[in-house]
Symmetry: C3
Subunit: 360 residues, 3 copies
């Protein structure tokens, strides 16, 4: 049974196929309007996320299917102490496919290995959010006509922004991508993304603190929010914050066909005055997210007999996960399972965090 | 794009057309059971209201459409600081029509001018609740066969009851309506409704504190709740409250075909013993509300190319809205926009409150 | 109009018919996929219960119907003080059948007598949960091929477990049932079940504190959770708890075709290592619950003209209910109604508790 936890599980060929199906859905929506007739999507949202949940629900409805689910943990059996594994087994009796969001990292993988239906990770803490990346990829593809030979700027919080990490990983497999990292020192891209993803794949990149400096060369500008709570020092925040707010005047030097992306919700990091500029693509991105989720649901429902084993080449119960937000910290009778990466580091199969150094 | 924020936006001809469609739906439900096939209603309820939300959802389902949405703000993106404008733009990518309830007055208009799909106001604070008025009108029409030449009593809290204000406004455009206002002095109809609506339109009306006194002349009795928290003085409340509770014995002098309406929920202001009296129409009103919402959804989905501009003849950013519950107090980058009424008073385009006197 | 509040309202013949329909649904799901087209189920959950709610929703969707509702009281009109009776009358305007869960015992009966559509009790406090019993019966029937001539063990909390009481009541009408009661003294089956149900119906039974002692003779083992909060004395709890946790080694002496049931959610009372044992039937039970709910919805929607009067042979307003969790304690203008049992005891029609001794 195939599930989707992390975008890197899909090959470039698979991504290309998803993009192709998505474009066909856009061109011929009627062709798909009964594809999932009689099928049910379960949206298991252990923390609220209206946009993502409604996107999945709209996707399933536009495929002619229906939806059951819950929108926060208080309304779920988890409030009665049920494990994620049991929830997945129970929901497998009710639905044909699951989309789940969870504050604990790795929870969707626990669901996937226990469910007898496909599971889509709709966001697990700071870990992964692969369907956002699918939305980003379709938007770039539709705006620029390609996923190669592009200069892509990422602006704002590059340290905690999982959508940034994930999109860089996805783009690392295409050729001719130049990455421009624009952030304050406090919020720079983590070393493991720079080294393990960009340098390892030979991606060209530059780092800067100043958006204006690099604006003219960008094909894509991916904005994120700089949150006050990320700074130890409020003075620094106050001094920096305006640099990472996109206003109409800053667009003067940008290419006329640059595409501005943002994973939303925005608060004030993009002025609403930009919304009517043809370069503003963040609401198109929303629609594209729905379309890619349609393509993804179709793909996973058609691959239920495909082999997928996240436990290949792993070691069990030798180490403990170091991440306090990992599902292994709370899930009943869950084994600690690690995979040895190329660099020799053992990483938790659930949340990708490093193992604690000592063996159990 | 046409939306519905305030009942007065609909002409008498439009209301008559809605009533006609509603009666046809009642007679031929099957004819309408696939009218919205493939269409989606988004119910965006930023505060809970089961009855209204489920009425909209039942309406859309009986038209063959489907529903997405949320039932309180905690489960919405607003909890992450998203503006109403952005929410409306995002939901426009997922659904075909929006019904929204919001504690802040004017929020549905902000949604309507930003959405690319029609928006129905399902209640915004104390401001408007037009689909309740549609339910009231259909109930009167079906019970009495007409919307003119009627004596209509309103009993209870006439000061804060927005359904009362709204129904009086709607009835002011029909001929031969006599209004009977029954309330304690503390909860009398506000002057601006009496003057701007009733007197301006030459409506006949009387005011009284005693329900029994006027009961025999009423064709319609519209009950509302007298809430303890509206009184500064608890003694006054205790002395008055029973006068505004409808019991079986008080009905002795009423016409045999009087119709009793109530917007619900009731607590104790109508004795449950009256429920089986043929004059009790408040549960018929519930069913009529669903039917009128069906007619309204059909109307708005058929008028998406119709021009609607709430900003005609307005002034921008010259005054500030005086209403602390207006959406302008919180919505990001929202301009303050006012319209000059016949009386020379500038009123906020969003919540209809007066402008603060000084110009900005 | 027929509703389902307590499993004992169904005759053995009716249960057999439900089981027969359920088996046909399992064999021919397509035959049922449009049976409820155009029909709406309202799920009125005044307290959260994901599993039960989603089971009902999946059931209705698999019958081709649709669903409206709410998943906790905060999102319902009850938070505005609406009575259960009014809610039932209102929802009757929106839906074709109701499934309701409520923390107050008797609330679903209040809904049933006020609604103009069938009402299914989806759990009312510690009182009844008949659709769980339907799930249990189908599971036993499908695993063992019969509902008679079985030795059925109940293990754990037999005092407060309403699913235990309810299943014993249901089984009391079949022949050749032997009941094995396994619990600590603190959590023994209440006398009124032992006397009024088991002894009155001549059921064979034994009581023990030790699961291991009786394991070899069981055809069915029904597990429940032993909750810490049920014990006055924590030492006792600590000493006892492991005796009532089912582990793989305890299964060594069990029959090879014993069926293990559990109403779920479990916390730790059944080791997850047992999940893969062919005797583990608790997830099959989940699927069976959905199937029986499908059969039940079909039955009730086909019997809307059938006479059902829970008020036959009752006395009104002569006694007061002694149960502080009874709906009569809060519902507006609700009469206190009692039925005299064979033993001469007056029991509340809503919650089955005894009347307070003095007459009003």
């Amino acid at each position: 049974m195939r599930s989707l936890i992390d975008i890197v599980e899909f090959s470039v060929e698979e991504l290309d196929e998803l993009l192709k199906v998505a474009c066909d859905i856009i061109d011929n929506p009627q062709k798909y309007s009964e594809k999932c007739k009689g099928k049910k999507l379960a949206t298991l949202f252990f923390e609220p996320s209206t946009r993502t949940r409604l996107s999945f629900e709209a996707a399933m409805l536009e495929l002619g299917g229906s939806v059951i689910g819950f929108s926060d943990a208080a309304n779920s059996s988890a409030s009665k102490g049920e494990s994620m594994a049991d929830t997945a087994k129970v929901i497998s009796c009710y639905a044909d496919i699951i989309a789940t969001r969870h504050p604990l990292e790795g929870a969707p993988l626990v669901a996937a290995v226990n469910a007898s239906i496909p599971v889509i990770n709709a966001g697990d803490g700071g870990h992964c959010h692969p369907t956002q990346t699918l939305a980003d990829l379709l938007t770039i593809y539709r705006e620029k006509g390609r996923l190669c030979d592009l200069t892509v700027g990422f602006c704002g919080d590059l340290k905690y922004g999982r959508t940034v990490h994930s999109l860089i990983s996805a783009l690392s497999r295409y050729t001719g991508i130049k990455i421009v990292l624009i952030s304050p020192d406090e919020l720079k891209l983590p070393d493991y993304i720079r080294e393990d993803v960009m340098e390892k794949n030979g991606m060209e990149y530059i780092e800067t603190r100043y958006l204006e400096e690099v604006m003219p060369q960008l094909d894509i500008l991916y904005m994120t929010r700089v949150q006050r709570e990320r700074f130890d020092d409020l003075d620094t925040y106050e001094r920096l914050k305006d640099s990472y707010i996109l206003t109409l005047d800053k667009l003067d030097t940008a290419k006329k066909d640059m595409a501005i992306l943002h994973p939303l919700p925005r608060v004030n990091e993009i002025s609403v005055k930009i919304d009517d500029d043809p370069r503003a693509c963040y609401f198109k991105q929303v629609r594209n997210g729905k379309i890619m989720r349609m393509a993804l649901i179709l793909k996973l429902l058609s691959e239920t007999d495909k082999h997928w084993d996240p436990f290949e080449d792993t070691v069990k119960n030798k180490y403990i996960c170091s991440n306090s937000k990992c599902i292994t910290t709370v899930e009943q009778e869950l084994e600690h399972i690690f995979k040895k990466n190329d660099d020799g580091i053992y990483r938790c199969i659930y949340c990708d965090s490093q193992a604690n150094k000592e063996e159990i």
